[in-house]
Amino acid sequence: MKKLINSPDEVLADALVGVAAAHPSLTVNTSERYIVRAGGPTAGKVGLVSGGGSGHEPLHGGFVGYGMLDAACPGEVFTSPVPDQILAATRAVDGGAGVLHIVKNYTGDVLNFQMAAELAADDGLRVEGVVVNDDVAVENSTWTAGRRGTGATVFVEKIVGAAAELGADLGMTAALGQEVNDRSRSFGVALTPCTVPASGKPGFELGEDEIELGVGIHGEPGRARGRLVSAREIVGVALDAIHTDMPLSGEVLVMVNGLGGTPLIELYVVYAAVAEWLAGHGVWITRNLVGNYVTSLEMAGCTITVCRLTPQLTYLWDAPVVTPALRWGR
């Protein structure tokens, strides 16, 4: 295992010190383990809290700031945060209008957020949750824990963040988050495994010409193993899967997201293929992100996420956002 770390057990603690030092706009509570906007909760605004295992940076800490999250709860690498820290973050961002939990659909995340929500309710806080489950690689929810939450999380956090800033109430933000999730789908591909620091070994092994199709963001193998083919063919597999599940048309927001070890130049090659495929199917990309937004440590590969826009969603996507990882309009 080759990593720029001090010790496998201190990765998260050290990284949080780095986040605190790098971003004066954020406050990091290193004992309770959460990241909030500096300056405390905004009175009357719904507080947005997300979180999940670490190793997906910039998700979620990099999305804390004006127009997006109020707090992020980082768990250990690839391990859900615990209820205590979620509860502490929920308390810290409550401005009187209630708190929305944005949760990626993994058993661990869902259970821990649920427990935190129950504890918060015991304290008299109003808490709602949106569960993001956009990954079409997981096909059938009666036979699985349900679809995973991946790239659409960024869309939900950005768009709901904008609405909360504009004064949407708790019920509206929850419904909007659900709408964004329902209109979004993702598919991921891995070219290499990644290594959880505390484990020290890659999560799986892949031959020189093999890839994993339908991977999540936790270094796990995918639904199937395939041959390394061209970017164009891989994009075809991904978009076919998405299009079959949710027929695409009209205006879309697309994210070509690097999993951590794939250089940006390749992501642009992928994006070119995505744009070509969608244009060929009469779908119009009006907004996009190309870069590393939801990573899986140093895994090489990418996820492709498509959201079918509405004028309202486009408006909220364009609204100002000021976070370490997404910033425009201000």
């Binding site: 615990v82 209820p83 058993t107 821990n112 484990s199 070994k201 799986f204 936790h218 270094g219």
Partner: protein
């Protein structure tokens, strides 16, 4: 069984899990995200630390403390699941300073119910339930036929092992292993494997308790 013995159980479970953490993580890397051993070691170490710190005086309080520690420190799916299991078990024991083998059976059954209530896994879904459920049944069967604590916990532990082995043939339908679908077949479930360790720790301390009745307090165990 008194608080002391329940603490011994958790100490032994923490020791066994720490010793086998790499193995648990390896199982989880085949079907999950390669952290189960790390999670369980962290959680049980926290439980041990919290027991040492708060020194609870009843079996129920011991298990409640363990449940709280696991929920607070484990993370992942296993933290809330095991944590809830221990808390539900604690609930059945109330404030009794000493609990019978039958009471322990009820506590184990409550743990199973609690885990199933929040995790919604059935037997055959390839989870910790596949080790815990047969363990609870086997324990009860021994008690029902007049067996003692040592025999019951041994039977439970053996049943858990058999349950674990059967998970290898199953396709996961719960937790993150379910994403791999048929690719999970052939691999044992990591959570079932940690359940085996916890049940085996229980068997160890209860038979030790029986044999070494000179231990202060241990003589009360039946």
């Amino acid at each position: 069984m008194d608080a002391r013995m329940f603490r011994a159980w958790i100490h032994e479970a923490a020791r066994l899990v720490a010793e086998n953490a790499d193995h648990l993580t390896r199982l989880d890397s085949a079907v999950g995200d390669a952290d189960h051993g790390i999670n369980m070691r962290r959680g049980l170490q926290a439980a041990v630390a919290m027991l040492d710190e708060t020194d609870p005086s009843t079996p129920g309080a011991v298990l409640a403390t363990v449940g709280r520690a696991l929920i607070s420190k484990t993370g992942g799916a296993s933290g809330p699941l095991y944590g809830t299991g221990f808390r539900q078990a604690a609930g059945t024991l109330g404030e009794d300073p000493d609990v019978s083998a039958a009471q322990l059976g009820a506590a184990l059954a409550a743990a199973l119910t609690g885990i199933q209530r929040i995790g919604a896994a059935l037997e055959g879904d390839k989870t910790m339930i596949d080790a815990l459920s047969p363990a609870v049944t086997a324990y009860q069967a021994v008690i029902d036929t007049g067996g003692d604590l040592a025999n019951a916990t041994r039977a439970a532990s053996d049943a858990a092992v058999r349950g674990l082995k059967q998970t290898a043939g199953m396709q996961a339908r719960k937790g993150r292993a379910s994403y791999l679908g048929a690719r999970t077949i052939g691999h044992e479930d990591p959570g079932a494997a940690s359940t085996v360790l916890i049940m085996s720790a229980l068997a160890t301390v209860s038979s030790a308790g029986e044999r070494r009745s000179e231990w202060p307090g241990a003589g009360a165990a039946t």
